[in-house]
């Protein structure tokens, strides 16, 4: 979680300094969801993410330095700089990609689960998306297919309460997005998405069901993004008081407090961890900035697979 937080804070700074081009969607405040979920699966399992996907990429095992190189559009990026923040994948890590189309990755994750089932690989697939995606047809169509075919897929909704600027209460007429699972005949559960252990346990239960051939699960993880939707967002649609309230529920703070209360984490260890993470992120930025820029000729190559 600390690594993701530091990575995202550094990305934010690189934008402010004009060292990253384009856009970005930071997951600061939401780290417990991908970290808890990925702690409950095997490295051979698969995951696919949303446009806000750096945290999931890192939780799935991608290297911060190559991820940073992708954001900077450099040769050592995972996707040769062609994808960037919203289109980064690493198939070697079982990471099927972040996705710039809201809800676009949901059927693809579902198809990967169909493939895993047909090939008998025993893999499960985590399909990550935000609350906004649950109003896309792909969400409803995919959950339906996964349920009728009993596919090994776990739908992880990161409900951060806002689809860009639209509050979830204006976009759906129900209290809990997890209630939608019942319509498709699968279990649904709403979790404290800022509690990494609660996420891990719920995902572990869903993984167990999936591997046993009992089909998909929908998990709604309540969380909050500390920053705006993207770098241009002034956050006029929510109050500073609401933000302050959620800052008190910061998943990192809560984990630190819990570990300290249990005596498993001391101030000294915490300081050492912070130092290690800072060094890793500094090295990632140095690696990415040292990575050669891409030659223009690459732009017209690789449209078709040979």
């Amino acid at each position: 979680m600390k690594l993701i937080r530091a990575f995202e804070e550094r990305v934010d700074r690189l934008f402010v300094e004009g060292r990253i081009h384009g856009t970005t969607h930071l997951c600061i405040g939401q780290e417990a969801v991908p970290v808890g979920a990925c702690a409950a699966i095997r490295p051979s399992d698969l995951a696919s993410g949303s446009h806000r996907g750096h945290g999931l990429a890192l939780a799935k095992g991608l290297r911060p330095d190559r991820l940073m190189a992708e954001l900077l559009g450099r040769r050592d990026g995972y996707c040769q700089g062609k994808g960037g923040t919203q289109h980064v994948a690493s198939f070697a890590h079982g990471f099927l990609g972040t996705n710039g189309i809201t809800g676009g990755g949901i059927p693809i994750a579902t198809g990967a689960a169909l493939s895993a089932k047909l090939r008998g690989t025993g893999q499960v697939v985590l399909s990550f998306f935000g609350d906004g995606a649950t109003n896309q047809g792909t969400f409803h169509e995919s959950l339906n297919m996964a349920a009728i075919w009993r596919l090994p897929v776990i739908y992880v909704c990161e409900n951060n309460l806002y689809a860009m600027s639209t509050p979830i209460r204006e976009a759906v007429a129900i209290e809990r997005l997890s209630a939608r699972a019942a319509a498709y005949g699968m279990p649904g559960e709403t979790l404290d998405g800022n509690d990494v252990l609660e996420v891990r346990e719920a995902v572990a239960r869903a993984v167990e069901r999936a591997r046993a051939g009992d089909g998909p699960t929908l998990l709604e993880c309540l969380t909050y993004r500390h920053h705006g939707h993207s770098k241009s967002d002034q956050r006029e649609y929510r109050t500073r008081a609401e933000e302050d309230c959620w800052l008190q529920l910061d998943p990192l703070l809560r984990s630190e407090r819990r570990l300290m209360a249990q005596g498993e984490l001391g101030a000294e260890t915490l300081a050492r961890l912070d130092g290690e993470v800072a060094a890793e992120i500094a090295a990632a930025v140095a690696f990415a900035e040292a990575s050669p820029p891409l030659e223009a000729a690459l732009a017209t190559h690789g449209v078709y697979a040979e």
């Binding site: 040769q80 198809g111 090939r119 690789g302 449209v303």
Partner: protein, 323 residues
């Protein structure tokens, strides 16, 4: 040599490829017991079972997405879009995902996916069941678009499409399904990206694909009686286009008539005319002419439908207007 229908040639290619490669699976609406709306997949579920011939709910965008996800992870899905018109429901997964994943993930991803699309008018199905929408996909980098006109090419090109590591839109004219022809070699794989000169001639080149190739050949036969010697090119693949064969033929005949069933504005013919203008302009003796569907939704009534579609008479008249 026995004659088989266009539909049975497609079905034979599916059977052969499914036997050859267990990663090939079929997905679509009513394709299992019912055999698909045009019965192209009839009995395949009995041969290969419901694990490989998968009936989907009516969810075009997401079942194409499911096929994309399966293709990314080691399967080779062939999706049947019941009518090509319904492909509009699946545009996001085809255009924003299937077509782009190989490029945007820097070459890591491969999407060996075939989408079979029964296309075209002439059966009185009306505006939402009669369109020829191939130009949308020709316009999308990363897709291949194939549109055969004979059972032999349908068979050989479908085998090539299934073995291709890229997403391929496979256009099947509904009116061709019952047309018979020879499929001489069950192992023949017709390469994607090559046009065929199906009739040689000196005076004008007729450029056609799918069902329009037959119209062009028929028009050429009629015009022969009037002393006109037409060359007919069957494009077979629309993307990537075999520009070389087009340019060589037009440079020889110095005249080109394009015959297409899609609507005229921004259609496949517009792209062909641009290629000819860019690469064969100095050889031309007359303007390039398009015989296309009128720019209207396809009407249902037979009299109205006939009025908007290309016909042998319209092709012949277009050729004569150039001479």
């Amino acid at each position: 040599m026995p004659q088989v229908t266009f539909a049975d040639a497609i079905r034979a290619a599916l059977i052969e490829e499914m036997k050859r490669d267990e990663r090939v699976i079929l997905l679509g609406e009513d394709i299992a017991l019912y055999g698909g709306a045009f019965r192209v997949t009839r009995d395949l579920v009995r041969h290969f079972g419901p694990q490989r011939v998968i009936n989907t709910p009516i969810s075009e965008n997401s079942f194409v997405g499911v096929a994309v996800g399966a293709a990314l992870t080691g399967m080779r899905p062939v999706v049947e879009m019941m009518f090509m018109d319904f492909i509009a429901l699946a545009m996001d997964q085809i255009v924003n995902h299937a077509a782009k994943l190989h490029y945007m993930y820097g070459g890591q991803a491969r999407v060996p996916l075939v989408i079979r699309a029964p296309a075209g008018a002439g059966r009185g199905y009306g505006p939402s069941h009669s369109q020829s929408l191939e130009a949308w996909f020709v316009h999308t980098p990363g897709l291949k678009v194939v549109a055969p006109s004979t059972p032999r090419d349908a068979h050989g090109l479908l085998k090539a499409a299934i073995r291709d590591d890229n997403p391929v839109l496979f256009v099947e004219s509904k009116l061709l399904y019952g047309v018979k022809g020879e499929v001489p070699d069950p192992d023949e794989v017709v390469p994607i990206g090559r046009a065929a000169v199906v009739r040689e001639g000196e005076d004008v080149t007729l450029l056609a694909y799918s069902r329009m190739t037959g119209l062009a050949i028929e028009a050429a036969s009629r015009l022969e009686g009037e002393g006109l010697d037409c060359e007919v090119l069957d494009l077979r693949t629309l993307a990537p286009l075999d520009e070389e064969t087009v340019v060589v033929s037009v440079a020889k005949t110095r005249r080109a008539v394009i015959v297409e069933e899609d609507t005229r504005r921004g259609g496949v013919g517009a792209e062909l005319a641009a290629v000819i203008a860019e690469r064969a302009f100095r050889h031309l003796d007359s303007p390039v002419v398009r015989v296309a569907c009128a720019d209207v939704p396809i009407p249902c009534s037979p009299a109205l439908e006939r009025a908007v579609l290309p016909s042998v008479e319209k092709v012949a008249a277009a050729v004569k207007s150039l001479i």
